[in-house]
Symmetry: C2
Subunit: 272 residues, 2 copies
Amino acid sequence: MLARTEHLFDDATRVTAGDSRWQGRTSEDYWAFVGPFGGVTAATILRALIDHPQRSGDPLSLTVNFCAPIAQGDFDLDVRLVKANRSTQHWCVELTQGGTEVATLATAVFAERRPSWSHQQAQLPQAPPFEQILPYPKVAANWVNQYDFRFVDGNPDLAAPIKDAPASAFSKLWIGDRVPRKIDAVSLMSMSDAFFGRIFHARRELVPFGTVSLTTYFHADAEDLAREDISRVLAVADGRIFHKSYGDQIGELWSPGGRLLATTTQIAYFKA
Amino acid sequence: MLARTEHLFDDATRVTAGDSRWQGRTSEDYWAFVGPFGGVTAATILRALIDHPQRSGDPLSLTVNFCAPIAQGDFDLDVRLVKANRSTQHWCVELTQGGTEVATLATAVFAERRPSWSHQQAQLPQAPPFEQILPYPKVAANWVNQYDFRFVDGNPDLAAPIKDAPASAFSKLWIGDRVPRKIDAVSLMSMSDAFFGRIFHARRELVPFGTVSLTTYFHADAEDLAREDISRVLAVADGRIFHKSYGDQIGELWSPGGRLLATTTQIAYFKA
Protein backbone atom coordinates (compact mmCIF):
# COMPACT_ATOMS: atom_id res chain seq x y z
CA MET A 1 0.00 0.00 0.00
CA LEU A 2 2.77 2.44 0.90
CA ALA A 3 4.65 4.19 -1.89
CA ARG A 4 7.97 2.52 -2.64
CA THR A 5 9.65 5.33 -4.51
CA GLU A 6 10.58 8.54 -2.75
CA HIS A 7 7.47 10.28 -1.54
CA LEU A 8 6.81 13.89 -2.54
CA PHE A 9 6.77 14.78 1.18
CA ASP A 10 10.35 13.51 1.44
CA ASP A 11 11.23 15.53 -1.60
CA ALA A 12 9.60 18.62 -0.10
CA THR A 13 11.46 18.26 3.21
CA ARG A 14 14.84 17.29 1.73
CA VAL A 15 17.88 18.90 3.28
CA THR A 16 21.49 19.03 2.22
CA ALA A 17 23.95 18.56 5.05
CA GLY A 18 26.43 21.27 5.87
CA ASP A 19 28.64 21.77 8.87
CA SER A 20 26.42 23.97 10.99
CA ARG A 21 24.64 25.38 7.94
CA TRP A 22 22.23 23.15 6.03
CA GLN A 23 20.26 23.88 2.88
CA GLY A 24 16.68 23.29 1.85
CA ARG A 25 14.28 24.53 -0.78
CA THR A 26 10.60 25.42 -0.72
CA SER A 27 8.28 22.95 -2.42
CA GLU A 28 5.67 23.81 -5.00
CA ASP A 29 3.73 20.70 -3.93
CA TYR A 30 3.24 22.08 -0.41
CA TRP A 31 2.79 25.74 -1.29
CA ALA A 32 0.17 27.70 0.64
CA PHE A 33 -1.31 30.99 -0.51
CA VAL A 34 1.57 33.33 0.37
CA GLY A 35 4.38 30.99 1.32
CA PRO A 36 5.25 27.38 2.05
CA PHE A 37 2.89 25.42 4.31
CA GLY A 38 4.26 25.94 7.84
CA GLY A 39 3.99 22.25 8.67
CA VAL A 40 6.47 21.37 5.94
CA THR A 41 8.83 24.11 7.09
CA ALA A 42 8.66 22.68 10.62
CA ALA A 43 9.13 19.15 9.25
CA THR A 44 12.15 20.24 7.23
CA ILE A 45 13.74 21.71 10.35
CA LEU A 46 13.04 18.47 12.21
CA ARG A 47 14.51 16.43 9.36
CA ALA A 48 17.73 18.46 9.45
CA LEU A 49 18.02 17.72 13.18
CA ILE A 50 17.23 14.02 12.79
CA ASP A 51 19.81 13.74 10.00
CA HIS A 52 22.44 15.69 11.91
CA PRO A 53 25.54 13.59 12.74
CA GLN A 54 25.57 14.89 16.33
CA ARG A 55 21.92 14.03 16.94
CA SER A 56 21.15 11.37 19.50
CA GLY A 57 17.79 10.17 20.76
CA ASP A 58 14.31 10.88 19.46
CA PRO A 59 12.48 14.17 19.00
CA LEU A 60 10.66 15.14 22.20
CA SER A 61 9.56 18.69 21.46
CA LEU A 62 9.82 21.22 18.66
CA THR A 63 8.77 24.86 18.85
CA VAL A 64 8.73 26.83 15.61
CA ASN A 65 8.29 30.61 15.54
CA PHE A 66 7.32 31.96 12.13
CA CYS A 67 9.02 35.36 12.05
CA ALA A 68 8.64 36.46 8.43
CA PRO A 69 7.39 35.12 5.09
CA ILE A 70 9.59 32.60 3.30
CA ALA A 71 10.01 33.29 -0.41
CA GLN A 72 9.94 30.60 -3.04
CA GLY A 73 13.38 29.05 -3.46
CA ASP A 74 16.43 28.08 -1.44
CA PHE A 75 16.92 28.64 2.25
CA ASP A 76 19.65 28.02 4.80
CA LEU A 77 19.25 26.32 8.15
CA ASP A 78 21.70 27.41 10.80
CA VAL A 79 21.68 24.39 13.12
CA ARG A 80 23.23 24.67 16.56
CA LEU A 81 23.47 22.12 19.38
CA VAL A 82 23.08 24.47 22.35
CA LYS A 83 23.48 21.93 25.14
CA ALA A 84 23.73 18.16 25.47
CA ASN A 85 23.32 16.11 28.61
CA ARG A 86 23.53 12.39 29.10
CA SER A 87 20.00 11.84 27.87
CA THR A 88 18.79 15.08 26.25
CA GLN A 89 19.91 17.48 23.53
CA HIS A 90 18.81 21.09 23.10
CA TRP A 91 18.94 22.54 19.60
CA CYS A 92 18.35 25.95 18.06
CA VAL A 93 17.68 26.41 14.34
CA GLU A 94 17.45 29.64 12.35
CA LEU A 95 16.09 29.64 8.81
CA THR A 96 17.36 32.44 6.59
CA GLN A 97 17.24 33.27 2.90
CA GLY A 98 20.05 35.07 1.08
CA GLY A 99 22.03 35.39 4.31
CA THR A 100 19.82 38.14 5.63
CA GLU A 101 17.15 38.19 8.29
CA VAL A 102 15.75 35.22 10.16
CA ALA A 103 12.44 33.98 8.72
CA THR A 104 11.91 31.08 11.11
CA LEU A 105 13.32 30.46 14.59
CA ALA A 106 13.03 27.03 16.18
CA THR A 107 14.11 25.21 19.32
CA ALA A 108 14.01 21.47 19.77
CA VAL A 109 14.65 18.89 22.45
CA PHE A 110 15.77 15.36 21.64
CA ALA A 111 15.82 12.64 24.27
CA GLU A 112 16.77 9.04 24.84
CA ARG A 113 13.39 7.59 25.73
CA ARG A 114 14.11 5.15 28.55
CA PRO A 115 11.55 2.57 29.71
CA SER A 116 9.35 3.80 32.57
CA TRP A 117 5.97 3.51 34.19
CA SER A 118 3.54 4.14 31.38
CA HIS A 119 -0.01 5.46 31.50
CA GLN A 120 -2.17 7.07 28.86
CA GLN A 121 -4.88 8.99 30.66
CA ALA A 122 -6.45 10.46 27.52
CA GLN A 123 -8.76 8.19 25.55
CA LEU A 124 -8.90 7.66 21.81
CA PRO A 125 -11.71 9.81 20.39
CA GLN A 126 -14.48 7.76 18.84
CA ALA A 127 -14.68 7.85 15.06
CA PRO A 128 -15.95 5.77 12.17
CA PRO A 129 -13.20 4.12 10.11
CA PHE A 130 -11.28 6.18 7.57
CA GLU A 131 -12.70 4.10 4.72
CA GLN A 132 -16.27 5.04 5.60
CA ILE A 133 -15.76 8.80 5.22
CA LEU A 134 -15.47 10.80 2.01
CA PRO A 135 -12.21 12.67 1.45
CA TYR A 136 -12.21 16.45 1.70
CA PRO A 137 -12.39 17.82 -1.84
CA LYS A 138 -9.43 19.31 -3.70
CA VAL A 139 -8.97 23.04 -3.17
CA ALA A 140 -6.85 25.89 -4.51
CA ALA A 141 -4.07 25.52 -1.93
CA ASN A 142 -1.49 22.98 -3.10
CA TRP A 143 -0.53 21.77 0.37
CA VAL A 144 -4.09 20.85 1.26
CA ASN A 145 -4.21 18.54 -1.75
CA GLN A 146 -1.22 16.56 -0.51
CA TYR A 147 -3.29 15.38 2.44
CA ASP A 148 -6.25 13.10 2.63
CA PHE A 149 -8.53 14.80 5.19
CA ARG A 150 -11.64 12.91 6.24
CA PHE A 151 -13.79 14.90 8.62
CA VAL A 152 -15.70 13.16 11.38
CA ASP A 153 -16.73 16.40 13.14
CA GLY A 154 -16.38 20.03 12.16
CA ASN A 155 -16.24 19.61 8.40
CA PRO A 156 -15.65 23.25 7.50
CA ASP A 157 -18.51 24.90 5.65
CA LEU A 158 -16.69 28.04 4.63
CA ALA A 159 -19.41 29.30 2.34
CA ALA A 160 -21.80 30.19 5.16
CA PRO A 161 -20.30 33.01 7.24
CA ILE A 162 -21.79 33.25 10.71
CA LYS A 163 -24.38 35.91 11.31
CA ASP A 164 -24.98 35.66 15.05
CA ALA A 165 -23.33 33.13 17.31
CA PRO A 166 -19.86 31.81 16.46
CA ALA A 167 -19.70 28.23 15.21
CA SER A 168 -17.70 25.55 17.01
CA ALA A 169 -13.94 25.57 16.55
CA PHE A 170 -13.70 21.85 17.25
CA SER A 171 -12.64 19.35 14.56
CA LYS A 172 -12.15 15.62 14.50
CA LEU A 173 -10.71 14.11 11.35
CA TRP A 174 -8.52 11.45 9.85
CA ILE A 175 -5.33 12.78 8.26
CA GLY A 176 -3.16 10.79 5.90
CA ASP A 177 -0.83 11.69 3.08
CA ARG A 178 -2.81 11.73 -0.19
CA VAL A 179 -0.10 9.43 -1.56
CA PRO A 180 0.07 7.05 1.40
CA ARG A 181 3.30 7.26 3.41
CA LYS A 182 4.25 5.57 6.65
CA ILE A 183 3.89 7.91 9.63
CA ASP A 184 7.17 8.99 11.18
CA ALA A 185 8.19 11.91 13.41
CA VAL A 186 8.75 14.16 10.40
CA SER A 187 5.27 13.61 8.98
CA LEU A 188 3.69 13.88 12.46
CA MET A 189 5.36 17.28 12.79
CA SER A 190 3.84 18.42 9.53
CA MET A 191 0.41 17.00 10.35
CA SER A 192 0.44 18.81 13.69
CA ASP A 193 0.17 22.02 11.67
CA ALA A 194 -2.24 20.62 9.08
CA PHE A 195 -5.44 21.61 10.86
CA PHE A 196 -7.32 24.43 9.20
CA GLY A 197 -7.22 27.70 11.12
CA ARG A 198 -9.63 27.56 14.05
CA ILE A 199 -10.88 31.01 13.08
CA PHE A 200 -12.13 29.58 9.75
CA HIS A 201 -14.26 27.11 11.69
CA ALA A 202 -15.51 29.61 14.27
CA ARG A 203 -16.48 32.19 11.64
CA ARG A 204 -17.25 29.79 8.79
CA GLU A 205 -15.22 31.86 6.36
CA LEU A 206 -11.64 32.35 5.23
CA VAL A 207 -9.94 35.39 6.73
CA PRO A 208 -6.29 36.50 6.67
CA PHE A 209 -4.50 34.04 8.97
CA GLY A 210 -1.00 32.99 9.92
CA THR A 211 0.51 30.74 12.55
CA VAL A 212 2.93 32.68 14.74
CA SER A 213 4.25 29.98 17.07
CA LEU A 214 3.78 26.21 16.99
CA THR A 215 4.83 23.65 19.61
CA THR A 216 4.54 19.90 19.19
CA TYR A 217 5.43 17.18 21.71
CA PHE A 218 6.18 13.63 20.62
CA HIS A 219 4.88 10.83 22.81
CA ALA A 220 6.13 7.95 20.65
CA ASP A 221 9.71 7.30 19.66
CA ALA A 222 10.96 5.78 16.40
CA GLU A 223 10.57 2.27 17.79
CA ASP A 224 6.97 2.95 18.88
CA LEU A 225 6.13 4.43 15.47
CA ALA A 226 7.73 1.53 13.61
CA ARG A 227 5.60 -0.84 15.65
CA GLU A 228 2.42 1.11 14.84
CA ASP A 229 3.23 0.90 11.12
CA ILE A 230 0.43 3.28 10.06
CA SER A 231 -0.19 5.75 7.27
CA ARG A 232 -2.84 7.92 8.89
CA VAL A 233 -3.78 9.46 12.23
CA LEU A 234 -7.01 10.38 13.95
CA ALA A 235 -6.69 14.04 14.82
CA VAL A 236 -8.65 16.41 17.04
CA ALA A 237 -8.21 20.16 17.33
CA ASP A 238 -9.96 22.91 19.19
CA GLY A 239 -9.58 26.61 19.93
CA ARG A 240 -10.30 28.24 23.26
CA ILE A 241 -10.13 31.94 22.54
CA PHE A 242 -9.99 34.54 19.76
CA HIS A 243 -9.04 37.95 21.09
CA LYS A 244 -7.31 41.08 19.83
CA SER A 245 -6.17 39.49 16.56
CA TYR A 246 -4.78 36.24 17.98
CA GLY A 247 -6.32 32.85 18.66
CA ASP A 248 -5.03 29.57 20.06
CA GLN A 249 -5.27 25.96 18.96
CA ILE A 250 -4.70 22.69 20.78
CA GLY A 251 -4.56 19.33 19.05
CA GLU A 252 -3.86 15.63 19.40
CA LEU A 253 -2.67 13.07 16.86
CA TRP A 254 -3.69 9.47 17.55
CA SER A 255 -2.80 6.15 15.97
CA PRO A 256 -5.82 4.18 14.76
CA GLY A 257 -4.96 1.58 17.40
CA GLY A 258 -5.44 4.10 20.20
CA ARG A 259 -1.98 5.42 21.02
CA LEU A 260 -1.50 9.16 21.55
CA LEU A 261 1.43 9.92 19.25
CA ALA A 262 1.76 13.69 19.51
CA THR A 263 0.14 16.72 21.12
CA THR A 264 0.37 20.20 19.71
CA THR A 265 -0.55 23.81 20.37
CA GLN A 266 -0.21 27.00 18.40
CA ILE A 267 -1.05 30.67 18.49
CA ALA A 268 -2.07 32.35 15.27
CA TYR A 269 -2.77 35.80 13.92
CA PHE A 270 -6.09 36.53 12.25
CA LYS A 271 -7.80 39.54 10.78
CA ALA A 272 -11.54 39.60 11.43
CA MET B 1 -5.12 44.56 50.01
CA LEU B 2 -2.17 44.41 47.63
CA ALA B 3 1.30 44.83 49.03
CA ARG B 4 2.60 48.36 48.59
CA THR B 5 6.29 47.78 49.04
CA GLU B 6 8.25 45.76 46.51
CA HIS B 7 6.94 42.21 46.44
CA LEU B 8 9.35 39.32 46.99
CA PHE B 9 8.33 38.02 43.57
CA ASP B 10 9.60 41.26 42.03
CA ASP B 11 12.76 40.90 44.01
CA ALA B 12 13.15 37.29 42.83
CA THR B 13 12.68 38.23 39.16
CA ARG B 14 14.77 41.42 39.23
CA VAL B 15 17.07 41.97 36.29
CA THR B 16 19.84 44.46 35.68
CA ALA B 17 19.86 45.94 32.21
CA GLY B 18 22.84 45.44 29.96
CA ASP B 19 23.29 46.04 26.28
CA SER B 20 22.47 42.60 24.94
CA ARG B 21 23.57 40.91 28.17
CA TRP B 22 21.41 41.28 31.27
CA GLN B 23 22.00 39.99 34.77
CA GLY B 24 19.83 38.22 37.30
CA ARG B 25 20.28 36.20 40.45
CA THR B 26 18.54 33.10 41.78
CA SER B 27 16.18 33.68 44.71
CA GLU B 28 16.22 31.76 47.96
CA ASP B 29 12.51 32.57 48.35
CA TYR B 30 11.63 30.62 45.21
CA TRP B 31 14.15 27.81 45.54
CA ALA B 32 12.99 24.32 44.60
CA PHE B 33 14.73 21.14 45.67
CA VAL B 34 17.69 21.17 43.30
CA GLY B 35 17.49 24.58 41.66
CA PRO B 36 15.35 27.66 41.24
CA PHE B 37 11.63 27.15 40.57
CA GLY B 38 11.34 27.07 36.76
CA GLY B 39 8.38 29.44 36.77
CA VAL B 40 10.48 32.19 38.31
CA THR B 41 13.27 31.55 35.83
CA ALA B 42 10.73 31.88 33.00
CA ALA B 43 9.27 35.00 34.61
CA THR B 44 12.71 36.55 34.96
CA ILE B 45 13.36 35.99 31.25
CA LEU B 46 10.00 37.57 30.46
CA ARG B 47 10.76 40.53 32.71
CA ALA B 48 14.06 41.15 30.93
CA LEU B 49 12.18 41.24 27.62
CA ILE B 50 9.40 43.50 28.94
CA ASP B 51 11.99 45.89 30.38
CA HIS B 52 14.12 45.87 27.23
CA PRO B 53 14.30 49.30 25.54
CA GLN B 54 13.67 47.76 22.11
CA ARG B 55 10.56 45.86 23.25
CA SER B 56 7.25 46.87 21.77
CA GLY B 57 3.84 45.30 22.25
CA ASP B 58 2.70 42.71 24.79
CA PRO B 59 3.94 39.17 25.39
CA LEU B 60 2.10 36.71 23.15
CA SER B 61 4.08 33.51 23.66
CA LEU B 62 7.08 32.32 25.61
CA THR B 63 8.78 28.95 25.26
CA VAL B 64 11.42 28.02 27.81
CA ASN B 65 13.67 25.00 27.41
CA PHE B 66 15.40 23.96 30.61
CA CYS B 67 18.74 22.60 29.38
CA ALA B 68 20.77 22.18 32.57
CA PRO B 69 20.51 22.89 36.30
CA ILE B 70 20.95 26.50 37.42
CA ALA B 71 23.24 26.91 40.41
CA GLN B 72 22.52 29.29 43.25
CA GLY B 73 23.83 32.77 42.43
CA ASP B 74 24.22 35.14 39.51
CA PHE B 75 23.33 34.40 35.92
CA ASP B 76 23.54 36.23 32.62
CA LEU B 77 20.75 36.62 30.09
CA ASP B 78 21.88 36.99 26.51
CA VAL B 79 18.88 38.79 24.98
CA ARG B 80 18.57 39.01 21.20
CA LEU B 81 15.86 40.57 19.04
CA VAL B 82 15.92 38.09 16.16
CA LYS B 83 13.31 39.72 13.94
CA ALA B 84 10.83 42.57 14.19
CA ASN B 85 7.90 43.28 11.91
CA ARG B 86 5.36 46.04 12.03
CA SER B 87 3.32 44.31 14.71
CA THR B 88 5.40 41.43 16.11
CA GLN B 89 8.83 40.88 17.64
CA HIS B 90 10.71 37.59 17.87
CA TRP B 91 13.22 37.22 20.69
CA CYS B 92 15.77 34.61 21.72
CA VAL B 93 17.23 34.47 25.24
CA GLU B 94 20.06 32.30 26.55
CA LEU B 95 20.70 32.00 30.27
CA THR B 96 24.29 31.18 31.23
CA GLN B 97 26.33 31.12 34.42
CA GLY B 98 30.01 31.99 34.54
CA GLY B 99 30.11 32.48 30.78
CA THR B 100 30.00 28.78 30.09
CA GLU B 101 27.24 26.55 28.81
CA VAL B 102 23.62 27.47 28.25
CA ALA B 103 21.37 26.45 31.15
CA THR B 104 18.10 27.80 29.73
CA LEU B 105 17.09 28.59 26.15
CA ALA B 106 13.97 30.62 25.46
CA THR B 107 12.13 32.14 22.51
CA ALA B 108 9.39 34.73 22.81
CA VAL B 109 6.95 36.57 20.60
CA PHE B 110 5.66 40.03 21.45
CA ALA B 111 2.77 41.59 19.54
CA GLU B 112 0.74 44.75 19.26
CA ARG B 113 -2.70 43.42 20.16
CA ARG B 114 -5.05 45.20 17.78
CA PRO B 115 -8.86 45.19 18.24
CA SER B 116 -10.60 42.33 16.42
CA TRP B 117 -13.56 40.03 16.46
CA SER B 118 -13.47 38.45 19.89
CA HIS B 119 -14.84 35.12 21.04
CA GLN B 120 -14.01 32.97 24.03
CA GLN B 121 -15.17 29.46 23.24
CA ALA B 122 -13.85 27.90 26.44
CA GLN B 123 -15.95 28.36 29.56
CA LEU B 124 -14.82 29.30 33.04
CA PRO B 125 -14.53 26.12 35.12
CA GLN B 126 -16.95 26.04 38.02
CA ALA B 127 -15.42 26.48 41.44
CA PRO B 128 -16.37 27.66 44.92
CA PRO B 129 -14.89 31.04 45.88
CA PHE B 130 -11.26 31.25 46.98
CA GLU B 131 -12.30 32.31 50.49
CA GLN B 132 -14.26 29.12 51.04
CA ILE B 133 -11.30 26.79 50.51
CA LEU B 134 -8.44 26.06 52.90
CA PRO B 135 -4.95 26.95 51.70
CA TYR B 136 -2.56 24.16 50.82
CA PRO B 137 -0.26 23.64 53.81
CA LYS B 138 3.34 24.83 53.97
CA VAL B 139 5.85 22.32 52.65
CA ALA B 140 9.62 21.86 52.47
CA ALA B 141 10.03 23.54 49.06
CA ASN B 142 10.43 27.30 49.44
CA TRP B 143 8.77 28.23 46.16
CA VAL B 144 5.56 26.38 47.05
CA ASN B 145 5.23 28.51 50.17
CA GLN B 146 5.25 31.74 48.13
CA TYR B 147 1.95 30.71 46.58
CA ASP B 148 -1.49 30.38 48.08
CA PHE B 149 -2.84 27.19 46.46
CA ARG B 150 -6.47 26.32 47.16
CA PHE B 151 -7.48 23.05 45.61
CA VAL B 152 -10.99 22.56 44.24
CA ASP B 153 -10.22 19.24 42.56
CA GLY B 154 -7.19 16.98 42.65
CA ASN B 155 -5.80 18.04 46.02
CA PRO B 156 -2.65 15.90 45.94
CA ASP B 157 -2.53 13.15 48.51
CA LEU B 158 1.10 12.21 48.11
CA ALA B 159 1.21 9.90 51.07
CA ALA B 160 -0.86 7.18 49.42
CA PRO B 161 1.07 5.78 46.44
CA ILE B 162 -1.16 4.00 43.95
CA LYS B 163 -1.27 0.24 44.05
CA ASP B 164 -3.36 -0.63 41.03
CA ALA B 165 -4.98 1.93 38.75
CA PRO B 166 -3.36 5.35 38.27
CA ALA B 167 -5.13 8.28 39.92
CA SER B 168 -6.41 11.24 37.94
CA ALA B 169 -3.87 13.80 36.76
CA PHE B 170 -6.49 16.56 36.68
CA SER B 171 -6.33 19.53 39.05
CA LYS B 172 -8.48 22.59 39.55
CA LEU B 173 -7.26 25.20 42.01
CA TRP B 174 -7.03 28.85 42.88
CA ILE B 175 -3.51 30.25 42.72
CA GLY B 176 -2.48 33.56 44.23
CA ASP B 177 0.77 34.91 45.61
CA ARG B 178 0.95 34.14 49.35
CA VAL B 179 1.68 37.85 49.83
CA PRO B 180 -1.04 39.19 47.53
CA ARG B 181 0.24 40.83 44.35
CA LYS B 182 -1.64 42.14 41.34
CA ILE B 183 -1.57 39.67 38.44
CA ASP B 184 0.52 40.80 35.48
CA ALA B 185 2.14 38.95 32.57
CA VAL B 186 5.25 38.19 34.62
CA SER B 187 3.32 36.54 37.45
CA LEU B 188 1.06 34.69 34.97
CA MET B 189 4.20 33.26 33.38
CA SER B 190 5.39 31.99 36.74
CA MET B 191 1.97 30.63 37.70
CA SER B 192 1.77 28.74 34.41
CA ASP B 193 4.59 26.57 35.77
CA ALA B 194 3.25 26.43 39.34
CA PHE B 195 1.18 23.29 38.91
CA PHE B 196 2.60 20.29 40.71
CA GLY B 197 4.01 17.62 38.40
CA ARG B 198 1.18 15.63 36.82
CA ILE B 199 3.09 12.46 37.62
CA PHE B 200 2.77 13.24 41.36
CA HIS B 201 -1.00 13.30 40.95
CA ALA B 202 -1.21 10.22 38.75
CA ARG B 203 1.00 8.14 41.05
CA ARG B 204 0.16 9.86 44.34
CA GLU B 205 3.80 10.11 45.28
CA LEU B 206 6.82 12.32 44.69
CA VAL B 207 9.25 10.97 42.12
CA PRO B 208 12.27 12.58 40.43
CA PHE B 209 10.78 15.16 38.07
CA GLY B 210 11.86 18.10 35.92
CA THR B 211 10.19 20.28 33.33
CA VAL B 212 12.06 20.07 30.02
CA SER B 213 10.10 22.52 27.86
CA LEU B 214 7.35 24.97 28.78
CA THR B 215 5.21 27.09 26.45
CA THR B 216 2.71 29.72 27.60
CA TYR B 217 0.42 31.85 25.45
CA PHE B 218 -1.02 35.12 26.72
CA HIS B 219 -4.61 35.94 25.80
CA ALA B 220 -4.81 39.23 27.67
CA ASP B 221 -2.60 42.26 27.16
CA ALA B 222 -1.46 44.76 29.80
CA GLU B 223 -4.60 46.82 29.33
CA ASP B 224 -6.85 43.75 29.76
CA LEU B 225 -4.95 42.70 32.89
CA ALA B 226 -5.10 46.20 34.38
CA ARG B 227 -8.84 46.17 33.87
CA GLU B 228 -9.17 42.78 35.60
CA ASP B 229 -7.25 44.10 38.60
CA ILE B 230 -6.97 40.70 40.32
CA SER B 231 -4.54 38.96 42.64
CA ARG B 232 -5.44 35.33 41.94
CA VAL B 233 -6.42 33.02 39.09
CA LEU B 234 -8.53 29.92 38.77
CA ALA B 235 -6.28 27.31 37.24
CA VAL B 236 -6.86 23.91 35.69
CA ALA B 237 -4.23 21.40 34.59
CA ASP B 238 -4.28 17.92 33.18
CA GLY B 239 -1.92 15.34 31.73
CA ARG B 240 -2.68 13.10 28.79
CA ILE B 241 0.18 10.64 28.73
CA PHE B 242 3.15 9.32 30.69
CA HIS B 243 5.43 7.23 28.52
CA LYS B 244 9.11 6.31 28.36
CA SER B 245 10.15 8.79 31.07
CA TYR B 246 8.26 11.83 29.79
CA GLY B 247 4.78 13.18 30.40
CA ASP B 248 2.82 16.18 29.20
CA GLN B 249 0.73 18.85 30.89
CA ILE B 250 -1.83 21.31 29.59
CA GLY B 251 -3.24 24.13 31.66
CA GLU B 252 -5.39 27.24 31.68
CA LEU B 253 -5.29 30.32 33.89
CA TRP B 254 -8.60 32.17 34.33
CA SER B 255 -9.56 35.44 35.92
CA PRO B 256 -12.23 35.08 38.63
CA GLY B 257 -14.52 37.10 36.35
CA GLY B 258 -14.34 34.45 33.62
CA ARG B 259 -11.66 35.64 31.21
CA LEU B 260 -9.12 33.14 29.88
CA LEU B 261 -5.83 34.92 30.57
CA ALA B 262 -3.25 32.35 29.54
CA THR B 263 -2.93 28.79 28.28
CA THR B 264 0.12 26.65 28.85
CA THR B 265 1.65 23.30 28.01
CA GLN B 266 4.81 21.53 29.07
CA ILE B 267 6.66 18.28 28.72
CA ALA B 268 8.51 16.93 31.72
CA TYR B 269 10.93 14.18 32.62
CA PHE B 270 10.06 11.74 35.38
CA LYS B 271 11.62 8.66 36.90
CA ALA B 272 9.06 6.02 37.88
